[in-house]
């Protein structure tokens, strides 16, 4: 993949409105294969990151960031990157989420947010945008004063000419700056001269959050807006046979009853009946009074037990070979020690705290959408199709997102809003209740792993065999989706030195909707890998950290080709460095405190270009596990905001821990059994351990961090539990 920027990477966009300088920074080349990870089929305009930067005559610097803010802190990092190059405190940069439509997508490129790519995508474009604006402001000042531009400096929103003691604000200069030629090549600040990047900064929106003024999707409020809830089949795949809305239509506040057809939309929404009313409460009461006769098909036979059986059957046969090294199928000469384990993990729910919602208005052939979306680019085509208009007639306004975690990559709720508002002429806000959200989630696939390892007489590994079985990711309907049947991340990149390696994959069918859950397949593949390497270490009578270090460092650098990430090389030095640091910080090799048991796991995430090692410290109290402390060591290359990076590592760890300790979605007769948050055991404050994050500040371009810590959390915990109890946990969650 070509990471070079094109020669004509900048082009000036006509000033939007009013006066001042507006730069549209256009990139024709993706920042890396990562940008394509979750992308729809590539087109000319749908994958390249870029940014709008404007400086008003009142000196207000505004950037329209083509990434959704969902808690990952990208708006803060964006302000920092611009501020660094513009010589301006990040707090003086106004950050807004760019809207999405055919005009902005042509100019801004990739506006999807996922795959831990926000910083990776924006690292260069934002700094270049800031530096370009800086050069144009300096040029404007030099022209105004008739001096050489090299005599001018930029500081805190002004350009100064020290020799004459003159200065002009960015606002004073913005009109003149807009007339400057856009420089073809600008110098970015050298790494030794940075004043903002690498320093810890609070979130730009923190005051708005603590005062309740930040607007999330659910807070959108428009004149004449109506509210809608939708009755959807509780059984997967169920469709509306008939419905009776006689009682509903005479109820107070009810404005319309709108069937939502899934077949008309290529099964991108669930079949159902929408109730539209002048208040949410009226809509909810209307839905209660609605009588729907559902036609339940094969979904009725779907059950957690049968899915598990299906996975075990698939695991008993060979799967598609994903990677093969050496002769893994040979008859190994004795004596050998055989280690064999099966791990099984459940469907998981995102449990983002803001339930699905979206507001849509269709008027005069144009549609506007307001909502918390991660992937507007995927949504716009189907929305246009549902309304019988061109994508160019749809605009999506992205709000602050109350938790994404991958759920809002799917856009079903936005499509619902478009369908429901179609004939009403006024804005309609579709809201999912929590029960709706739990029944109709896009769950992390259920999965199972058959592991086989062989050790020679000296305890050195001879064979590593990993057979991944999962329900894959598929948006709606039955069966593995071939395009997504590649949930091998982590396993195909198995980093340890073993002469014979085989990884296989089998997808099994399921009616349950499955989606991308923070770290996607890494959340389960790495669990199996890092638990099983620990089992191998135990069988070899070796220390788990030393065992891993030796196997990491004795393997020459290798390359893997991932379907999404492209070709990536192993980096055993950085991988081993985080492992050593985590061991050092936790006193791994020192005498342990009585009653404290440690477990370790580590990962080089080839997709994120980042490294992590985690050590969990647990105690057994009255036969139950207590997690005392979790320590992580990370290397994500250059760190823009250490505070933001720590938050991502902590948050991903808490999510991983929560899942390991209590989370599972189970299915009975085609229905989700957990319909209240109290039935889905999320980690609460009293169970949250002390967390310590140690950062290795690298010099490489920033790697991703949002999905880095989740995969290693459960294995480090379960390896600590083995140390505490002598029992291996091979099925999650631990409490069930």
């Amino acid at each position: 993949m070509n990471n070079q920027l094109t020669r004509r990477e900048f082009s000036r966009i006509i000033a939007l409105s009013g006066s001042g300088l507006t730069l549209g920074i256009l990139f024709g080349i993706p920042s890396g294969a990562s940008a394509n990870r979750l992308a729809a089929p590539q087109g000319e305009n749908n994958f390249s990151p870029s940014v709008f930067l404007s400086i008003s005559t009142a000196s207000v610097v505004t950037i329209h960031v083509p990434k959704s803010e969902m808690g990952q802190g990208i708006h803060t990092a964006a302000a920092m990157l611009i501020g660094e190059e513009l010589g301006l405190d990040e707090s003086r940069v106004v950050v807004e989420t760019a809207p999405f439509n055919s005009t902005t997508s042509a100019k801004l490129g990739n506006q999807n947010t996922g795959g831990s790519t926000s910083i990776k995508d924006l690292w260069n474009p934002l700094r270049k945008a800031g530096a370009t604006a800086r050069e144009m402001l300096v040029g404007a000042a030099a022209k105004t004063w008739g001096v050489d531009r090299t005599e001018c400096t930029v500081r805190q929103g002004t350009v100064r000419h020290a020799l004459s003691g003159r200065s002009l604000s960015f606002g004073d200069l913005s009109a003149e700056a807009a007339k400057q030629e856009v420089p073809g090549d600008v110098q970015l600040k050298p790494s030794g001269n940075l004043s903002i990047i690498g320093t810890s900064k609070s979130r730009v929106e923190v005051r708005g959050i603590v005062t309740g003024s930040v607007q999330y999707g659910i807070d959108v409020d428009l004149p004449e807006m109506l509210y809608s809830v939708i009755a959807r089949s509780p059984v997967y795949g169920g469709i509306v046979k008939s419905f009776d809305d006689m009682a509903v239509k005479s109820m107070p506040g009810i404005k319309a009853v709108v069937p939502v057809s899934s077949s008309a939309m290529g099964a991108k929404v669930r079949n159902g009946v929408a109730i539209v009313a002048d208040s949410l409460w009226a809509a909810l009461k209307g839905r209660e009074a609605l009588k729907v006769d559902w036609e339940n098909g094969a979904g009725l036979e779907e059950d957690s037990g049968t899915i598990s059986t299906r996975m075990r059957e698939a695991a008993s046969k060979d799967g598609r070979v994903m990677s093969k090294i050496g002769e893994p199928d040979q008859a190994f000469p004795e004596p050998t020690q055989r280690v064999e384990s099966t791990y099984e993990l459940p469907f998981l729910y995102h449990a983002q705290l803001e339930p699905m919602n979206c507001t849509a208005r269709f008027k005069d052939g144009k549609c506007e959408i307001w909502g918390p979306l991660q992937f507007p680019e995927w949504a716009i085509g189907p929305i246009a199709q549902a309304l019988g208009i061109k994508p160019a007639d749809v605009t999506i306004h992205i709000t602050q997102i109350g938790g994404g975690f991958g759920r809002r990559i799917n856009f079903d709720y936005a499509l619902e809003a478009a369908i429901v508002c179609k004939d009403l002429g006024v804005p309609v806000k579709v809201i999912w209740t929590r029960e709706d959200d739990m029944r109709h989630g896009f769950f992390r696939p259920a999965n199972l792993h058959n592991m086989v390892g062989l050790l020679d007489a000296g305890g050195s590994p001879l064979l590593w065999s990993h057979h991944i079985v999962s329900t894959t990711i598929n948006v709606f309907g039955e069966g593995p989706n071939p395009s997504n049947e590649c949930l091998g991340g982590g396993a195909g990149d198995f980093p340890y030195s073993v002469p014979n390696i085989k990884t296989m994959y089998s997808g099994v069918r399921s009616m349950i909707t499955r989606g991308w859950w923070r770290s996607v397949e890494y959340s389960f593949n790495v669990f199996a890998m890092e638990c099983f390497i620990d089992e191998m270490a135990t069988a070899a009578k070796k220390d788990p950290v030393e065992f891993r270090l030796k196997l990491l460092e004795s393997r020459p650098v290798f390359e893997v080709r991932h379907p999404f990430w492209g070709a990536k090389k192993s980096q055993p030095d950085r991988h081993a460095a985080v492992l050593r640091l985590a061991a050092e910080k936790t006193g791994w090799f020192a005498k342990r405190k009585p009653g404290h048991h440690l477990g370790v796991a580590c990962l080089h995430h080839f997709g994120l270009d980042s490294f992590i090692a985690m050590v969990s410290d647990v105690s057994m109290v009255d036969g139950k596990v207590r997690v005392n402390k979790v320590t992580a060591a990370v290397d994500c290359g250059v760190v823009v905001n250490p505070l933001g990076l720590k938050a991502q590592i902590e948050g991903g760890m808490v999510m991983g821990l929560s899942a390991a300790l209590g989370e599972a979605i189970t299915i009975k007769k085609g229905e989700v059994e957990q319909t209240r948050l109290s039935q889905y055991k999320l980690l609460r404050i009293g169970q949250a351990p002390e967390i310590e994050v140690h950062i290795i500040q690298g010099s490489q371009s920033p790697g991703g961090s949002g999905e880095l810590s989740t995969p290693v959390t459960a294995p480090s915990l379960c390896n600590a539990l083995f140390s505490a109890s002598g029992t291996r946990v091979r099925k999650l969650p631990i409490t069930t």
């Binding site: 808690g71 959050i209 409020d221 208040s279 409460w281 948050l677």
Partner: protein, 153 residues
Amino acid sequence: MPEFQLNVNNKVYPVKVDEDTPLLWVIRDNLKLKGTKYGCGTSDCGACTIHLNGSAVRSCVIPVKSVVNGKITTIEGLSSTGDHPLQVAWVKEDVPQCGYCQAGQLMTAAALLARKRNPTSAEIDVAMSGNLCRCGTYQHIKKAIQSVSQSKS
């Protein structure tokens, strides 16, 4: 449709709503105070926490008819300029990630400190146990609460 007089953030609002309407939706959609969030509707997550006569309650399960004589405080009324000691501590500790649960967290914490100046770690855990944070900011929530309670002592 009956009319109710609601005392919210020291202001009286007349509202005409169905008497069973959960207070949460009246606050959000009738009074347009959007800082109080909907998370579950079943008092399982705490995102909708407000103060009713000084106590932290879950507004998603309280019908509007039951609060007509009550004094209601929402996140918008926790302080006049966003400078309640907990809000200041939340900013200083940089607690939020997505931020959606934080109004509820702050309201629960504020009610706790109002009745107990120096809660123990275990008391904080109990009081805050009804407030979920999916982003995993618990460690910072606790530090922020402790920074306020300790500075008071």
